[in-house]
């Protein structure tokens, strides 16, 4: 009997051994991550840059975040508050979060509701210049109910109250550390901004701005078996090509973020055999925005590219439709994105509930239909194959930012448009100028001194209400707003605005989906925006790195605690 017991015990011990070895914190050793854009600061409230938000997500965590399927999961919170479980008030003006029990900061002090309330106060300070202020929009106050509970009160009913404290963009920061850093003093707290104390799986050991960060496992992390890695070197800088090479060819690095490279380049690197590219899709859509107003340089500056001067050619929906029909989206994907892209006919390509299938006829290139539309609009083919109407050639100024893939797209689309008799003048502008928004520069995408412009945009989280709201009347950039505004096309349709208002007042998710799809369809069927490619995220990890789940709805490093060495 005794012997059997002993044998049994030995067998159990043997069976447990690999598990135990695996379950030990830090057992996987060292992890090398490379982001080809180097992090400048580890406080996501002071920088909206993806590199900064994602690197800080190793340390700072939100109450809830989205998983790889775009579903909300509780993170530091006990559960997701909803109307059904009473966490969200019936009138949609408040939401109550409860922290998990026993949470500790990496310095060993407990996480309390005061820290949660402080995080909101920090970002909502009017002089702070908080990059994530949009997530705290309409927040009236954050009430501390007890040690672990806070209630966020909104000034208007919020059908989707998951702005504050959700996703890596609005994490919980430690009150004790940032207390004296609010408002105008925020940038002075260099130590806090470089070495934030967090609840995440790792803590910062050494931060070198725009260069490299060293992390080590947080000894107070809530799961005693995690993280698997003991230390991380987070290298920043360089370019996407050398980052991909370092993972897939030389094996110097374990994880490379966002490899925006031509598909054949990725394929060649993958042959290196040390790592594999992975991709996932979110809401990023590469599109051509059509200018509904006249960008002619002959106009005085106060009406050029404003709604006072409708576009003489592109105001005609038939021309806009023809431009869209002439494009072969499949080929664009093949040339530019490979496995990290798929053709898109929608502005909102995901999540499924918001994805319309009413516009799928754009997938097929139809040059005849395009030509017929232009004929119908009165544009006849002139001497050199370019269409003419009333002595005016059908010429389009086509601008975008400088980027190899975009220039390829420009050349292809120019060719297709040429085939239907439309001449395109191509222009590309350095990204820092194009996206810079300097009201003094004539080359920003907001000013839109061109007929069409191409770039990509997406929305944070899974709800497109704010994103679709950009296309309402009055949101267009114009001289009075110093050319700031999100309605780049200067589209204006009262019916659209009314429908959007309805969306803002609807709580049921099915209803929201229906209205969202309808709003998307209005924009698509008016050909205000010509969607091209639903762009996924392509990253790469080493063959010896396990546990990576690529998530485009939140930080890519969202589950880094579970990454391990194979």
């Amino acid at each position: 009997m005794k012997r059997t017991m002993a044998l049994f015990g030995a067998a159990t011990a043997l069976a447990m051994m690999p598990l135990a070895a695996h379950a030990e914190r830090g057992a996987s050793g060292h992890l090398n991550i490379i982001y080809w854009q180097a992090p400048s600061i580890l406080n996501p409230y002071l920088s909206g840059g993806t590199k900064d938000v994602e690197s800080s997500s190793l340390v700072l965590e939100p109450l809830a975040r989205y998983n790889q399927n775009g579903e909300l999961v509780a993170w530091l919170a006990e559960s997701i508050p909803t109307v059904e479980n009473g966490g969200v008030a019936e009138d949609l003006t408040s939401i109550t979060w409860t922290l998990r029990e026993g949470l500790l900061w990496s310095d060993g002090t407990p996480v309390t509701s005061a820290d949660v309330a402080f995080s909101a106060e920090y970002c909502m300070h009017p002089e702070g210049g908080c990059a994530q202020a949009a997530r705290y929009q309409d927040v009236e106050s954050v009430e501390i109910v007890d040690e672990r509970t806070v209630t966020v009160h909104f000034s208007v009913p919020k059908p989707v109250p998951y702005g504050p404290f959700v996703t890596a963009q609005s994490p919980i920061i430690q009150r004790a550390q940032f207390e004296n850093c609010t408002g105008a003093r925020a940038p002075e707290c260099t130590d806090a901004n470089f070495y934030p104390i967090g609840t995440g799986a790792f803590r910062v050991v050494d931060f070198r701005p725009n260069d490299v960060i060293s992390f080590e496992a947080n000894q107070n992390y809530r799961d005693p078996a995690l993280p698997h890695f003991a230390t991380i070197t987070f290298k920043g800088g360089g370019d996407a090509a050398s980052a991909g090479r370092a993972v897939m060819e030389t094996g110097e690095m374990d994880y490379a973020w966002n490899l925006q490279l031509a598909p054949d380049v990725i394929a060649t690197m993958a042959q290196g055999g040390r790592g594999v590219p992975i991709s996932a899709f979110g809401t990023l859509v590469e599109r051509i925005e059509v200018n509904m107003t006249d960008p002619s340089p002959d106009l005085p500056p106060e009406i050029r590219s404003t709604r006072a001067a409708p576009h003489p050619v592109l105001s005609d929906i038939r021309v806009r439709e023809a431009l869209s029909r002439a494009i072969d989206r499949e080929l664009l994907v093949e040339v530019g994105y490979g496995q990290a892209g798929r053709p898109s006919c929608n502005l909102v390509p995901a999540p499924p509930i918001f994805r319309s299938d009413a516009n799928d006829n754009c997938l097929e290139q139809d040059l005849d239909r395009a030509r017929a539309l232009l004929d119908e609009a009165g544009w006849v083919v002139g001497a050199v194959g370019i269409r003419v109407r009333d002595g005016r050639r059908l010429t389009i100024d086509y601008m975008t930012s400088t980027n190899a893939v975009r220039q390829d797209f420009q050349a292809l689309i120019q060719q297709w448009w040429r085939e239907i008799g439309v001449e395109a003048n191509l222009r590309n502008i350095n990204a820092s100028v194009f996206f810079g928004g300097d009201p003094g520069s004539p080359d920003t995408f907001q000013k839109f001194y061109a007929d069409v412009s191409m770039y990509a945009n997406n929305f944070p989280g899974t709800d497109p209400e704010a994103y679709l709201g950009a296309y309402r009347c009055g949101f267009e950039p114009r001289p009075e707003t110093q050319w700031q505004g999100e309605n780049i096309n200067r589209f204006c349709d009262p019916a659209y605005d009314a429908l959007h208002l309805q969306l803002a007042q609807t709580a049921s998710i099915e209803e929201r989906g229906r209205i969202g799809r309808e709003l998307n369809d209005i924009l698509m069927q008016n050909y205000i925006i010509i969607p091209l490619v639903d762009r996924g995220r392509l990253s790469a990890h080493s063959n010896t790195l396990g546990g990576v789940v690529l998530n485009t709805w939140d930080s890519e490093l969202w589950n880094v605690a579970e990454w391990h060495r194979l």
Partner: protein
């Protein structure tokens, strides 16, 4: 001499002020925006708030004045305090903050300086050590095969830009042979022989590229200067007195030939600090050159302005030093 130095130093102040103003205005007029790196999902109102928080809401002359005050009073006090260890020297209050990192510009510069000094400084030193003997011997045996070879190498060094030789070396030594790493590891602490070897390996390629470039220039100066002197009467006199060739060349000729070369070397020292912008970029050496480029891309105005003005100060200063050295080495030159 003293009055000359004082006069030059005083004159440097308006020059530097003017340089600072010009750089500031150029940055002001150039397109680009510190918010351009931010994702488009950040709405325009928030961007505007962020710009205001960076201090961009004020008129340009106010911002320039503020920067000037911080640069000439607050930052030097911190540098002094760090160097001497006396904390009471610090002028409290705001410092020049980088737009990108929101941390004091001076701290980042201090963090990047060692890499630049090691890589660029070492290559300058090596360049001099290699160039001077080659220049001497080339001139002494003019048109010999050694001279021809030296001329060839220095022409190669002169005419091949570092953005060509750099990637060429990477291709040969990193990708084909796998001897040296591509990425310069700034966290490496040299505390053992193994790490020292690592440091040597990662520095080898950038140092070699820059040494070739520096040596090419200095060799030509050295050779030309030696040739000028070798035909002088005093050389014949020295030989007539029965001195050995060794003494004639290495003592009489060399000392006189070094005068122009030393000033050229002094004038080149500021380039050690400005960093070899292209080479640092090619080899991922995170030094001052890479810092400047990154700041320009990110429209980080305080960083670009501060770095450029520091470089301007160094250039003005070393110009003065070169002039003074000239007078010290050559007794015929008197400024007073």
């Amino acid at each position: 001499m003293f009055t000359f130095t004082m006069r030059r130093l005083l004159l440097a102040i308006p020059t530097l002020l003017f340089i600072a103003l010009v750089i500031f205005l150029l940055l002001e007029l150039s397109p680009g925006d510190p918010m351009s790196d931010m994702p488009l999902t950040i709405p325009p109102e928030v961007r505007q708030q962020m710009r205001l928080a960076l201090g961009l809401g004020e008129a340009w002359y106010i911002r320039f004045y503020k920067w000037l005050y911080l640069f000439s009073v607050v930052e030097p006090s911190h540098v002094l305090a760090n160097m001497t260890g006396y904390d009471w020297l610090r002028v409290e209050g705001q410092r020049i903050l980088s737009f990108q990192t929101r941390s004091p510009v001076a701290d980042i510069i201090a963090q990047r300086l060692p890499q630049t000094l090691w890589v660029v400084g070492l290559s300058y030193l090596f360049g001099i050590l290699v160039a001077v003997p080659i220049g001497i011997y080339s001139a002494y045996r003019q048109y010999s095969w050694f001279d021809q070879a030296g001329t060839f190498v220095s022409m190669v060094g002169f005419s091949l830009p570092t953005f060509f030789t750099g990637p060429l070396l990477i291709l040969i030594f990193s990708i084909w042979l796998g001897w040296f790493p591509i990425i310069y590891d700034t966290t490496l602490v040299v505390d053992s022989w193994a790490n020292f070897l690592k440091q040597l390996r990662q520095m080898a390629m950038p140092v070699f590229v820059l040494t070739l470039y520096n040596a090419a220039q200095i060799t030509r100066f050295m050779r030309a200067s030696m040739l000028d002197n070798l035909t002088q009467d005093y050389v014949r006199t020295a030989r007539a007195k029965g001195m050995t060739e060794r003494i004639v060349v290495l003592v009489h000729v060399l000392r006189n030939s070094l005068i122009p070369v030393v000033t050229v070397i002094a004038l080149g020292i500021p380039t050690i600090f400005t960093g070899a912008i292209i080479t640092e970029q090619v080899f991922r050496v995170n030094g001052l050159g890479a810092l400047l480029i990154g700041a320009i891309y990110g429209s980080d105005i305080p960083m670009v302005l501060t770095l450029s003005v520091v470089f301007a100060i160094l250039i003005v200063l070393f110009n003065l030093i070169a002039d003074i050295l000239y007078a010290v080495l050559d007794p015929r030159i008197r400024y007073d």
